[in-house]
């Protein structure tokens, strides 16, 4: 016999039990404990299979159900003759809790219906000024994928890992010299990237190269374009067509 178990989010063990009772169309005052317990545990197993955490409350209820089930199986304790104590149904306490919870659940849905009516009327001062929802970032990542990030990371890492020379002669480079070098590298190229200019550069050289590029832009010799934030910076000879017009 298979059970169709809906994996709704339950508010707690009572909620789950009430749903099982509703699904089985049984009377809350006459619960077939064995079958309900089985279905209840089935649900917990299905949670486990999905690696969902089962909170303590659900486990306590499982224990309660199993205890009730076993009490129902045992023969009633012999009652002494002068005691006229009624045999208390072991399900009674649980059923009382369930019907009490059911009542409040119904009140909660009554309140939610009232809310949907009440949320249609407004008092003065109830509407706050609209929030400014302009995003602070304009998509800083753009169309970058994880693969792009990986490639960029490897590109950086290989540069960092280059071995330091054993001896080095500090070289100084002037801004005009660097500008000249950029001009030379641009010859015959429709476009180069800023990174192309940085082959084997020290941090100081990178700064000078950057300043050189800025200077060339100021002089109107080149144009720089960056299509996305943090993307490659393309350097092109200044568009001549504009001047021709």
């Amino acid at each position: 016999m298979g059970y169709l178990i809906q994996l709704d989010a339950y508010e707690g063990p009572f909620d789950l039990l009430l749903d099982l009772i509703a699904q089985n169309e049984i009377d809350i005052w006459d619960i077939p404990i064995a079958s309900i317990t089985e279905q209840y545990l089935e649900y917990l197993y299905s949670l486990q299979e999905q690696d969902l955490a089962i909170t303590g409350e659900f486990l306590v209820m499982a224990a309660t159900l199993i205890r009730i089930k076993s009490r129902l199986l045992l023969p009633p304790e012999p009652v002494e003759e002068d005691e006229f104590e009624d045999e208390v149904d072991p399900r009674l306490e649980l059923v009382e809790q369930l019907s009490r919870y059911k009542f409040f659940k119904e009140v909660a849905s009554f309140l939610q219906e009232h809310y949907s009516d009440a949320s249609q009327v407004f008092t003065r001062g109830q509407m706050a000024a609209p929030l400014d929802m302009t995003p602070i970032y304009t998509d800083p990542v753009g169309d970058l994928t994880v693969t792009d990030l990986k490639e960029l990371y490897y590109a950086l890492i290989t540069e960092v890992e280059k071995e330091e020379p054993v001896h080095s002669i500090p070289s100084s480079i002037s801004l005009p010299e660097r500008m000249a070098r950029v001009r030379v590298q641009m010859v015959g190229q429709p476009r180069i990237t800023f990174r192309d200019l940085l082959q084997d550069s020290s941090p100081a050289e990178i700064v000078v190269t950057f300043l050189a590029v800025l200077e060339l832009v100021r002089l109107g010799e080149i144009a720089v374009v960056q299509y996305q934030s943090c993307g490659p910076i393309d350097i092109e000879p200044f568009a001549l067509e504009v001047e021709v017009q």
Binding site: E11, G12, P13, F14, D15, T55, E57, M61, E96, Q97, S99, R100, Y101, K102, F103, F104, K105, E106, V107, A108, S109, F110, L111, Q112, H114, Y115, D117, A118, S119, Q120, V121, F122, T123, R124, G125, Q126, M127, A128, A129, P130, L131
Partner: protein, 171 residues
């Protein structure tokens, strides 16, 4: 004071008050019987029928609100300050507090069968419930009850409007 003068004053009072004004509060100000106030409010209501506003009974008082059919337009004005919907857990917790108040968190949890501290905290934050002192029991736990805002939030006149069916089953 003529009836039409009283009508203007009462309309002004209900409009200006930031909370639902009870017939008795109005009666004390205009020095009339509260039953007279009630019938004057009815005639203001009749006058409002063609307009954009209505006077609703909420938490035992009167409050001027916009008519429900205007909601789609008013919502375009901005965001409502108090009106975000509650979670199921919070609504259940609130239902229990409304009936059982003053009630402790442990009593709520016993009925719901699950921990309810986050539901209680969010209701406190939204001022739908408040603390009503402490219970004279071990640990002196905090007692909770519903607030004025509870009635406004659900548009209820009083606790009598809550359903009673089923109460006898467990009380």
């Amino acid at each position: 004071m003529t009836i039409s003068e009283a009508e203007k004053i009462i309309e002004g009072l209900i409009f200006a008050a930031e909370y639902p004004l009870t017939a008795q509060e109005i009666a004390d100000i205009v020095e009339l019987e509260s039953s007279a106030v009630e019938s004057i409010v009815e005639s203001i209501r009749a006058r409002y029928s063609a307009g954009a506003l209505l006077i609703r009974n909420v938490g035992g008082g009167y409050q001027v609100v916009t008519k429900p059919e205007l909601a789609p337009w008013i919502e375009k004005l901005g965001r409502p300050v108090i009106n975000a919907p509650l979670s199921v857990a919070s609504t259940e917790t609130l239902a229990i507090i409304a009936y059982q108040q003053p009630v402790t968190r442990a009593e709520i949890e016993q009925i719901r069968g699950v921990r309810s501290d986050s539901a209680v905290n969010s209701l406190l934050e939204r001022e739908l419930i408040c603390e009503l002192g402490r219970k004279n029991a071990p640990g002196r736990p905090i007692l909770y009850g519903v607030t004025e805002k509870f009635f406004q939030y659900f548009g209820l006149r009083s606790l009598d409007e809550l359903p009673l069916q089923g109460i006898s089953e467990w009380k």
